[in-house]
């Protein structure tokens, strides 16, 4: 069973995405802020990380850097409300494998997850 780390401070989105991903057969670990996320990344291996950018304690960018340092093979998808070209470019520059802007369709996210997790 593939494991996904989901990092999001919007608790409703966190719960909903957990339900959607679990229904598709993924094992999901949740983090509601940057501190929990950094700890999770430090302690566990994941098949995929999905992260927001604006988080308490540590930003999504910092988390992506940490993931790429400690688990370079683990793909990262950014899910963020920021549509700015700058954010998107910075996200890819720092090592993210994909970038989805909110609002998004769960099916689109699922197909991107599928593509990255099974490559």
């Amino acid at each position: 069973m593939k494991t996904i780390l989901l990092i999001e401070n919007d608790l409703l989105l966190l719960k909903t995405m957990e339900a959607i991903l679990s229904a598709k057969g993924y094992r999901v670990s949740l983090s509601k802020d940057g501190k929990e996320a950094l700890q999770q990344v430090h302690d566990n291996q994941f098949d995929l990380v999905i992260t927001d950018l604006m988080l308490p304690y540590a930003s999504g960018m910092e988390i992506i850097e940490k993931v790429k340092e400690q688990q370079p093979q683990t793909p990262v998808i950014i899910v963020s409300s920021s549509h700015s070209e700058e954010s998107i470019i910075e996200g890819f520059h720092i090592g993210a494998d994909d970038y989805i802007t909110k609002p998004f369709t769960p099916s689109e996210l699922l197909s991107r997850i599928n593509r990255l997790i099974n490559r």
Partner: protein, 504 residues
């Protein structure tokens, strides 16, 4: 004849003090009503405005967050981290290391992978020399700038250095030992975006963090302070912000934006000369000078407060430290009037001259003096058996009841905005302490104010002292002072060029 004159004098004095009280109480009642209007308006705007629009906007105005730090090794890392994670699309964080003698700088360097960087520092406002500017080698911390400078002896100097290094049109002035809400920037910018006139400064409520559950610079659970002295400060801040400042904001007559949290228009702050290093109340001083500048240049402006509590600061728990703080504030207020006397009742300065300054003069500056004279008079008439005890008790009750009523109402107003405290018992306990405040805390403030005025009058040197932040325990790194190779801004001479007509 002599007796008649004496009795008229006494009557005149007693009636004047009573009228003074009525005027003050009427003003407080007006502020209470006005603050309720401001709270309602703010609640409506928060529901009406979609903050997501601002969060995702490519044309949002940038904000520079300036946080001076002096010997803050206990909290520096966790608090800088929290500054770096604001919910806002465009901001930078400028930490000004104001000549710290502990390992504040080395902790920052290690944690954020800082390297000395050639950076165009423009000394528009004069400060103590800047030694080096650091930026992170990691992209994740690309918003962070650390300005290392010689100690300026006060916060004002450090903030000015931060303003010099700032890029964006607005700056947030805060203390690095304060804990700020993640939505601070997005909430504070709201009045600036909402109004059709220039908003030169915005403030928000501050509270005491002493008994809150804090974890690495984030507040997990808000609690009112358990320690009595800190509790009284919490009550005082609640009353001052939820009632006072909001009420003034509704009348566009805000007397001060707190130095622990304020968003300012950078261009206007620079035009006003930046922060004054010689002032004991640099936060009030800059507001006055910015307002003066706007009046002098005939520009319509506003200073606003929003009701949300966005900043938590550690309140002094020792009497000595609290008194030192309040003596400094009293001296600052005295200084302000001494340096800006021309503003009082000057119609050129509109609300600043006709409302803010007269209020500050009669009901802030003179209040401790009037009260002290009142206490002396009270003791005198008791000792000389001239006192009418029934009337005296009624008058004492009059002042006491009003004080408690205003305080409890402020706590209610605060509950309308945020249910900060999870338990109703915490609210009741805080409200109950307002019954003790007039007896235990208020005399302390009175004493500090009089002491401050006397110190200022006799020119005694102010000891800024150590605010004794306990902070959350963090790792202590034994580090030696790091030598400073590379560009030394302190010794840099900026070459002056002759201005030539620029042709193609």
């Amino acid at each position: 004849m002599k007796e008649t004159f004496y009795s008229y004098l006494v009557q005149f004095y007693e009636h004047s003090v009573f009228i003074y009280c009525i005027a003050l109480f009427t003003l407080y009642a007006l502020l209470t009503g006005m603050s309720r209007i401001v709270i309602n308006r703010n609640k409506f705007l928060n529901r009406f405005r979609d903050y997501n629009t601002l969060l995702t906007s490519p044309v949002a105005a940038g904000i520079s967050v300036i946080a001076p730090a002096y010997n803050e090794s206990a909290n520096i890392i966790s608090n800088v981290r929290s500054l770096l994670t604001f919910n806002y699309p465009k901001f930078e964080v400028i930490v000004v290391n104001d000549g710290s003698t502990d390992d504040t700088l080395s902790l920052l360097i290690e944690e954020f992978a800082l390297v000395q960087t050639n950076y165009t520092y423009i000394p528009t406002l004069s400060t103590k020399p800047v030694r080096t500017i650091y930026r992170s080698s990691k992209k994740a911390y690309s918003q962070l700038i650390v300005v290392d400078k010689e100690n300026g002896g006060c916060k004002a100097d450090a903030v000015n250095a931060g303003i010099n290094a700032a890029h964006h049109p607005y700056f947030l002035n805060t203390d690095v030992d304060c804990i700020l809400d993640n939505d601070t920037l997005i909430k504070l910018i709201q009045p600036i975006l909402e109004e059709r006139k220039t908003v030169i400064a915005v403030g928000a409520s501050l509270r005491i963090s002493n008994s809150c559950d804090i974890d690495d610079g984030m507040i997990n659970r808000i609690r009112p302070p358990k320690q009595l002295l800190a509790s009284f400060q919490e009550i005082e801040y609640t009353r001052s912000f939820s009632m006072g400042k909001l009420g003034w904001s509704g009348m566009n007559a805000v007397p001060n934006v707190s130095g622990a949290l304020g968003l300012f228009n950078k261009r206007i702050a620079i035009k006003a000369g930046g922060y004054n290093s010689g002032s004991f109340a640099e936060d009030m001083d800059i507001i006055v000078r910015m307002s003066k500048y706007m009046c002098d240049t005939n520009q319509d402006y506003a200073i606003r407060y929003i009701p949300q509590t966005l900043c938590w600061t550690e309140g002094p728990t020792r009497l000595k430290v609290l008194v030192r703080q309040r003596v400094r504030w009293a001296r600052g207020l005295w200084q302000l009037f001494a340096s800006h006397a021309k503003i009082i009742f000057n119609p050129k300065y509109k609300r600043l001259g006709m409302v803010v300054f007269p209020y500050n003069l009669f009901f802030e500056l003179l209040a401790p003096i009037i009260e002290t004279i009142g206490i002396i008079y009270y003791v005198y008439i008791v000792v000389t058996h001239q006192i009418n005890w029934h009337f005296a008790i009624i008058l004492l009750l009059f002042v006491y009841c009003f004080s408690v009523f205003i305080t409890v109402t402020s706590i209610l107003w605060d509950q309308l905005i945020f249910r900060h405290y999870r338990s109703w018992k915490e609210v009741v306990a805080l409200a109950a302490k307002s019954l003790l405040e007039p007896f235990l805390y208020h005399p302390l403030l009175l004493f500090s104010a009089i002491k401050g005025y006397l110190f200022q009058l006799f020119g005694k040197k102010q000891n800024w002292g150590d605010m004794e932040r306990k902070g959350a325990a963090k790792k202590q790194i034994e580090a030696e002072a790091i030598p400073v190779p590379g560009p030394n801004y302190a010794n840099m001479e900026i070459p002056v060029y002759k201005k030539k007509q620029i042709h193609e």
